[in-house]
């Protein structure tokens, strides 16, 4: 924690940003104390979206908790499902067939692609870009959500992963539609890049703002693109090699300055890497079952024990910690929310910056309040 100077309350101005605010990505409140235009103190207040997710999961069966995980990070429902399914599979020792793993990677990378595109749009909107980048990003996202709807039945709350695989197989023609979307993806990312990355106004507003060193990021428990923007080479897909990620060739970008511009560029570069992974996975997907036939979904009673399943979600490390006592309900169910943990150092990042920068820093960390508050 940085040392805060004594505050002279006759000079400073207390502003409450939120909870209703166009730029706070959800119901999130920041009590900011300003000295002129500069921030001298920032206290985040959250909990406006708390929905007792962990308690609900502890009073319901393992299968019943799966649709609730959709609603955690509601922009990336399928990766939430995947992390939870991973945790239960570790707990109960369930294997996943190969076709299911390929499908998991495909829908997971589609989720990452639409999340990063949406983030570029939201960040441009925070900067005052009047929605142009957002609507272009949503054009890409619409096509991906259409793919999800034809596969899972719902555009967002997919409820698609099951213990030991996926809920249902790919419908006829889905692979061709997915390949068409992937072919267009580079062009749409090019447009976003041409609009955003060379723009001098964006460079002036994002470079040098909210710089986070690698050491502080590691100590703060950061993960995901924010950590990599600070120069730390840590991607759980490479570290844990969960699923079949070790079969695909993809690079992990690293930043240098750890400021908002690097964080934005991380998302853009990772989106391009996701397109690469998608091309490989869509080309190599084998035939086979999509769920382990020996795995029980309804009435699953894992043996007593504990397990921690984590994935490299689009926001960071999303983990589920489960303790089972042998019954059909978890004894303890805990979500490690990347958005909340990435907000730990928000005050430190914002002190000394201007008020306009606070929104930009918050936007570049990429939070979803469903995950912060659960």
């Amino acid at each position: 924690m940085s040392v805060m100077p004594p505050l002279d309350s006759s000079r400073t101005l207390d502003v409450s940003l939120g909870p209703q605010h166009p730029s706070t990505h959800g119901v999130f409140r920041m009590n900011v104390t300003l000295d002129g235009e500069t921030v001298v103190r920032l206290q985040p207040v959250f909990g406006y979206l708390h929905r007792n997710h962990e308690k609900i999961a502890e009073t319901h069966s393992y299968l019943a908790a799966m649709p609730y995980t959709d609603r955690l990070d509601y922009i990336c429902p399928i990766t939430n499902n995947w992390a939870y399914a991973l945790a239960v599979e570790k707990l109960a020792g369930i294997e996943v067939p190969e076709r299911a793993e390929y499908i998991r990677v495909i829908v997971g990378e589609f989720t990452r692609l639409q999340n990063h595109a949406a983030l570029l749009g939201f960040l441009a909107g925070d900067l005052g870009g009047w929605g142009t980048a957002l609507l272009w990003a949503f054009r890409l996202r619409e096509k991906i959500l259409d793919l999800f709807e034809s596969l899972t039945g719902a555009r967002m709350m997919a409820n698609y992963m099951r213990f030991g695989g996926c809920r249902c197989d790919l419908p006829v023609g889905w692979l061709e539609a997915a390949r068409a979307v992937v072919r267009d993806a580079h062009g749409q990312l090019d447009e976003l890049e041409a609009l955003l990355t060379g723009n001098e106004i964006i460079l002036a507003r994002l470079q040098g703002v909210g710089a986070l060193t690698g050491e502080r990021a590691i100590n703060g428990g950061f993960s995901g693109p924010v950590l990599r923007a600070s120069g730390v080479d840590y991607d759980i897909r490479k570290v844990d090699r969960y699923g079949i990620y070790d079969r695909f060739r993809f690079r992990v970008p690293r930043g240098t300055a750890g400021d908002c511009f690097d964080r934005m560029m991380m998302r853009l570069l990772e989106a391009r890497e996701s397109v690469g992974i998608l091309e490989q996975a869509l080309a190599g997907i084998p035939e086979g079952p999509v769920v382990n036939p020996k795995a029980k979904q309804r009435g699953l009673r894992p043996p007593a024990g504990e397990a921690y399943g984590r994935i490299e979600g689009p926001k960071g490390e999303l983990g589920f910690y489960l303790i089972s006592d042998g019954t059909d309900r978890p004894y303890r169910y805990r979500v490690r929310p990347p958005s909340l943990i990435n907000l730990t150092l928000l005050e430190e990042l914002c002190i000394g910056t201007k008020l306009a920068d606070v929104m930009v820093i918050l936007g570049s960390i990429d939070i979803v309040l469903g995950e912060v508050d659960r």
């Binding site: 019943a64 749409q188 890049e193």
Partner: protein, 220 residues
């Protein structure tokens, strides 16, 4: 920073000219060019405008799209052809507990294999489809009706058995592939049961014949 330029715009002359610009302010010019291209393109390129002009244009729902559950009946009579046997598994497994079932009883009080009351509160239902997955009798499926708003929160948003019962033909209309698979499964089950019943009947006939022969033999 950008390794893969695989779009037609980047490879076109204008794209390469603009991306090679390096004077101060070039980024702003590039942005303006991309916006102009989108403006012109929105009139000529079909896939740019993704807006569906609802309600003049009906939304194109994919086959698997789901909104709220409904019950299936075979034949023409909803009550007689209803597949649900009131096993209450969906009520138990539903995560938000939005299903309410009361089993039917006959005049003597014996339980019948049909529900008397089957209510789903769609203001609570989160369309998770778990009831469909756990039903052993292929009797509850997901509908595609999404225009279900009403002014009355507690009355009109609780669907009763009568509201929920829809025919198998309707099911074929909205989810053809799934309905065909379901029908094939039901057919296969029925054939298996018939074969088992036939085998059992044949075995019983044989045992009876053997018993009859045995009875005759000591008599003989």
């Amino acid at each position: 920073m950008n390794e893969q330029k695989t779009s037609r715009w980047s490879e076109s002359f204008a794209g390469r000219l603009l991306s090679g610009l390096r004077f101060p302010g070039a980024g702003l010019v590039k942005g303006l060019a991309v916006t102009a291209r989108n403006f012109v393109g929105s009139y000529f390129e079909k896939d740019r405008l993704l807006t569906e002009l609802y309600p003049e244009q009906r939304p194109r729902l994919p086959e698997n799209s789901r909104s709220f559950p409904f019950l299936i009946y075979d034949g023409n009579d909803p009550e007689a052809g209803m597949r649900c046997v009131s096993c209450k598994i969906c009520e138990k497994e539903c995560p938000p507990q939005c299903i309410y079932i009361v089993q039917d009883r006959d005049a003597a009080g014996k339980a019948l294999k049909r529900p008397r009351v089957f209510n789903i509160d769609i203001s609570v239902c989160m369309s998770c489809q778990i009831c469909v997955e756990v039903c052993p009798f292929e009797s509850i499926r997901m509908d595609q009706v999404f225009e279900a708003s009403s002014y009355d929160r507690f009355g009109s948003l609780v669907l009763t058995k009568r509201d929920l019962l829809k025919s198998n033909e309707y099911y074929h209309g909205i989810h053809p592939t799934e309905a065909a698979e379901t029908d094939a499964r039901i057919e296969a089950d029925r054939k298996k049961k018939e074969a088992a019943a036939a085998a059992k009947a044949a075995k019983a006939a044989e045992t009876a014949k053997a018993a009859a022969e045995k009875k005759e033999a000591p008599a003989a």
